[in-house]
């Protein structure tokens, strides 16, 4: 997201941490999931300066102190609407024509 690799105290950042190592995960979950650690990310205000990858603590919006590896500085969102899919674009044109044809047939 942001280009910065170093945060200062008070910056809005994201940290990553491991909640459960693969060995500590619940019994009975699918193999592909069990092979991975359970990881988490949370955003907050940095309580110390640090570089991406450093262990830092943050104060979250609810006021909790969470310690993790600095994973982003000024984290934003990049999800989009995507491009129109070729299978979708003609639906509106075709259905409007069908409704119009139905109504003219019914004399409306």
């Amino acid at each position: 997201m942001a280009e910065a690799i170093r945060c200062d105290v008070g910056d809005w950042v994201e940290v990553e941490y491991v909640l459960l190592s693969a060995a500590d995960r619940a019994a009975g979950i699918p193999e592909d999931t069990a092979a991975q650690p359970l990881r988490a990310w949370v955003k907050g205000f940095a309580l110390a300066p640090g570089m991406i990858g450093d262990e830092v603590s943050v104060e979250t919006m609810s006021g909790r102190i969470v310690r993790g590896h600095l994973s982003d500085i000024e984290p934003g969102y990049t999800h989009t609407f995507g491009a129109p899919s070729v299978e979708i674009v003609s639906i509106g044109r075709d259905l409007r024509a069908r409704v119009a044809a139905y109504r003219s047939r019914d004399g409306e």
Binding site: L19, L20, A23, D24, R25, A26, I29, P30, D32, T33, A35, Q36, P37, L38, R39, A40, W41, V42, K43, G44, T60, M61, S62, G63, R64, Y77, H79, T80, F81, G82, A83, P84, S85, E87, I88, I91, G92, R93, L95, R96, R98, V99, A101, Y102, R103
Partner: protein, 470 residues
Amino acid sequence: MTGRYEQVMARKGEIMKRALGMDYAQFERSPIAFDYEAMMFSHGYTLEQIRSIQRSAGVGLTPLLELRNITDLVRSYAEPGRGARIFVKDEAANMAGSFKDRRASMSIHVAMQNGFAGVIAATSGNYGAAVASQAARAGLKCIICQETFDSRHIGQPEIVEKSRICEAFGAEVVQMTVGPELFFHMLELLEETGYLSASLYSPFGVSGIESLGAELAEEMIALTGAPPTHVVVTHAGGGNTTGTARGLERVGAYDTVVVSASVDLSGLHMASDTDFNRKSFTTGHTGFGVPFATWPDRADVPRNAARSLRYMDRYLTVTQGEVFYVTEALSKLEGLERGPSGNTAMAAALSLARELPSDATVVVQETEYTGAGKHHWSQLAFARAQGIEVRAGDPAESVPGKSIVIPERPEQIRAHDVDLIRLRRSYIRNALNHAPEGYSTTPEDVIFLAEDTNTTPSAVEEVIAELRAV
């Protein structure tokens, strides 16, 4: 050595008892039966009080719209005399963009009444946005636990959008990788903060949806002179079906047929890291709909207030491609650009309306907001990037996790009935399996199971005898 997971789970009972704001033990009658109605009325709010709480919270009284163009589209290919009138309750008009505001407003009200400083909810869906929005209005702290990413840190775009909106409303969002241990971390957070567990499945949350069923019945009476003949409900955890049906009953709409609808995701495992990003729907699908119908008490409360088998008269499934098609159609024909998950019931309604006489009335009881990430174009682009085949054709040929087939014509939209007898049987098997080894069912248990599956005591006894014989 016991790990952190086991240690926290061992404290589940005591953590939940404090965090739920109520003691569920008082409703238990046996290892199988509990007093459902006593639990549902334990909060003590009448429908009028619920409506009043929701009005002060800015929730409800959403527009009921008749979809004349969609109705005529269906009539253009239905048999003569068929093609029911289709209506929609535009729940996206709620503040946080879905009917979940109704549930969340009740959770926040209870949190305020009981002096909690904040609320926690485990949800990757619209409920998170609703809780975050209501908490912001009430000045409460809010933590939302979300299953957001696979192990490659690739987020399902719909859930990433949900992270964004929750943070926009000032919630702390804990984004996690795939796994049912989300619940374990929620317990840790409840213990650390002392906040209320704003479960989707609490009696007050589910009662909050009753206003939706009541509103739509009253609006239909005003508009057409009668309650709707059919209501179609997008079904996942069961709260939407349960609350809507109870609301219909509260205003006397006993004859309305309640039809639940889910997107068919059969074959995909909901706890699988690799399957996680191979689905284009994060709720309203059979991966929640079937297991929650057949064992509601898998939820994050001792007894789930959402018990869909009690209320569903039919259960229809539709494909991902059919819902995307109908989402685009709704936008282009009716000027309603809404999220695909909420349009699951809309796709089923088109199929249902085609079978019904033209004087029948079908209400699709919700819509949800859309936008970057949630939008059907966004989901299709993401599916392609994950290697899912997207093509036009007959949606009956689609395979969840492998292909999405967009219909070429509306005639190809055909919902499929799920066998309710099979679901009831599966529920009864689960109830027996959860009782202690060697426990024999009492007449009271049989009556409870009949009520919980909307069938007769003799039908329950038959199933029990069959299961015991195996």
